[in-house]
């Protein structure tokens, strides 16, 4: 029986290929890993909308806030990240409304409110799902409910042409009213008469 012997040159070849594989693997692995880390660390759009270095372009929308002066809704320009969809932009618009005005207008939603979800259907109905605080911390009253509902509805309609109606959900489900007045069990159409000229 002849035992197969590995020559020194074969040893060298084997060693070289092993090293190559290891190096390649290391480079690939790190590359992939690095990308993942980068994706994970990307700031959520609403947290850093003003960051100029962001890869996505920004756009300016008009948020509509109630004011102390009259019962109308007043525009306040705000920069958001553009795209990738109307739903993503509308999400930022509602989050910015919750964050409140930088010009001293009234906050239309309780600041504890979270936007749980927002999506826009093909038919142009925006479903805005808010956390329970929008009801629990709401002062009730017709005027207060008008301000809360239509700051959302009119802001979305004014800035996003495809949005024709807005259905406000709370904790994922349909509610009758926020505090006993306006009907939440069907989608709202915008009331442009509430917008200041």
């Amino acid at each position: 029986m002849k035992k197969r012997k590995i020559t020194p040159s074969q040893w060298t070849l084997l060693g070289l290929s092993l090293i190559t594989i290891l190096v390649l693997a290391a480079v690939l692995f790190r590359g992939a890993g690095g990308e993942k880390i980068k994706a994970g660390a990307a700031p959520p759009p609403s947290e850093a909308p003003a960051e100029p270095a962001a890869a996505r372009p920004t756009k300016t929308i008009n948020l509509l806030f109630p004011s102390e002066e009259d019962s109308l809704l007043h525009p306040e320009p705000r920069e958001i990240l553009a795209g990738p969809s109307i739903g993503e932009e509308a999400k930022q618009a509602v989050q910015e409304l919750i964050r409140g005005s930088g010009k001293g207008y009234i906050s239309p939603l309780p600041p504890e409110t979270k936007l749980r979800q927002l999506f826009v259907t093909k038919e142009g109905v925006a479903y805005v799902d808010l956390s329970r605080e929008v009801m629990d911390k709401h002062p009730s009253g017709s005027s207060a409910e008008l301000a809360t509902v239509y700051s959302i509805v009119n802001t979305l309609a004014v800035n996003f042409k495809p949005i024709k109606k807005v259905f406000i959900l709370v904790e994922g489900s349909e509610k009758e009213t926020l505090g006993g007045h306006l009907n939440l069990s069907e989608p709202f159409v915008p009331l442009p008469s509430l917008n200041a000229r």
Binding site: A42, E68, S71, P139, S140, S142, E176, G180, L182, L184
Partner: protein
């Protein structure tokens, strides 16, 4: 790797899936089918139920109402009516109650019903009764004895039927006219709250009781309060009370609250529709033909549009409601010494299903400390009641 981004990215997909499945569920919604056919001496209506629901029959003039208590929702599919006696089918919905309305061409009929359990069918045969003698057909000339009148108004319970649910219909038939006054909120649902602790529900009840007293003392109207004490009443039930009593007017009384500290004044609301242009046009058609509410729609329009009639019963009364709002606001301006905020439109839940002229009065702002002090004062409450009362008197003069 489970970064927070990954999970949040997953959500829209889940949401969309859930939504899609909801849509497909809605598409496969169970259906209640209604059809009519003529036989030699009767006309037969067959209702095929999607599953077995309790029901009750009630005869009301030329109508036969089939009240179905359904725990799940369903659609109504009516076949075009070609019958010598059955005129049309329509339907209405309120909470878990569906009402299939069978309109006949003559109120003198006897319904006989039986069930075919295997097919989940309810069969109702309509037998026409002989025409009354001519003097009975013209009641204005020869008053009938009261016993006879009683008999005509309260038809014997239909076979298999439960007690009629429309409590106010007998009163309406006797020509007694009803106004429904709705004190906003109640019970655990306190409404808005003033800085000094005043609750909207207490103010609205106090004003409503004063208004009731004024109307009952001075007008030949029956007044129904949606609540006469501190009680939870759902918004849909408030509207249903108006419809069940065949109310001619519906007045909801509220005290306002704003996010603005200084907001003040009085305003009167009537309903605005959450309808896009196309739907609004369709509803405007209904409004201009509000007689359509009295007689159910032609069978070719069955389905969707009739749902709107009940879900949005108020759509047919917007013009009258606007007039009522204008008149009441006028009187508030004269009597209250508050800022005139005018009349406005908004989609108030409580007004949506009311099938008569309906307004919501925001007497003053409970969120404004000065007006909160007014709202608890007996004299101010009396003035609000007086102003609404004067508005009602002016409006009633416009009624036929």
């Amino acid at each position: 790797m489970r970064g927070p981004n990954k999970t949040s990215a997953k959500h829209p997909a889940c949401f969309c899936l859930l939504f899609l499945s909801l849509i497909s569920l809605a598409a496969a919604q169970p259906t209640l089918k209604v059809s009519a056919e003529d036989h030699d001496d009767y006309s037969r209506v067959v209702l095929t139920f999607p599953s077995s629901f309790p029901y009750a029959l009630e005869k009301d003039g030329p109508l036969l109402l089939v009240r179905v208590s359904a725990t799940s929702s369903f659609r109504l599919k009516a076949e075009p009516v070609k019958s010598r006696f059955i005129k049309s089918f329509s339907w209405a919905k309120s909470n878990d109650l569906y009402i299939v309305i069978i309109e006949t061409r003559n109120e003198r009929f006897r319904p006989e019903s039986f069930e075919i359990a295997k097919k989940r069918q309810l069969v109702i045969d309509f037998y026409e009764l002989a025409e009354p003698p001519p003097n009975e057909a013209a009641p204005a000339e020869t008053p009938r004895p009261p016993a006879d009148e009683e008999k005509r108004e309260e038809p014997p319970p239909a076979p298999g039927g439960a007690a009629p649910l429309v409590e106010g219909s007998a009163a309406a038939a006797r020509g007694i006219r009803t106004i429904v006054i709705d004190p906003g909120h109640g019970g655990l649902e306190v409404g808005a709250r003033g800085k000094f602790g005043t609750l909207e529900k207490d103010v609205t009840l106090a004003i409503a009781l004063k208004l009731k007293a004024l109307v009952e003392k001075n007008l030949a109207f029956n007044v129904v309060l949606t609540r006469d004490r501190d009680l939870d009443v759902s918004l849909e039930n408030r509207a249903a009370m108006a419809n069940n009593h065949r109310a001619e007017l519906f007045i909801s009384i509220h005290a306002n609250s704003s996010l603005r500290r200084n907001a003040n004044g009085s305003e009167t609301f009537f309903l605005s529709l959450n309808a896009t242009d196309e739907e609004a046009r369709r509803l405007a058609y209904l409004e201009n033909n509000s007689a359509e509410l009295e007689k159910p729609l032609a069978p070719e329009n069955e389905g969707d549009i009739q749902m709107i009639l009940w879900d949005l019963a108020q759509a047919a009364y917007l013009k009258q409601s606007q007039r009522l709002a204008e008149i009441i606001q006028d009187e508030l301006n004269v009597l209250l010494n508050t800022k005139d905020r005018g009349i406005k439109q908004a989609p108030f839940k409580v007004l949506t299903g009311v099938a008569c002229p309906a307004v919501l009065v925001e007497s003053a702002f409970i969120s404004n400390p000065e007006e909160e002090r007014s709202l608890v004062r007996e004299a101010f409450q009396e003035n609000v009641a007086q102003a609404i009362y004067r508005g009602l008197v002016r409006y009633i003069k416009l009624l036929p």
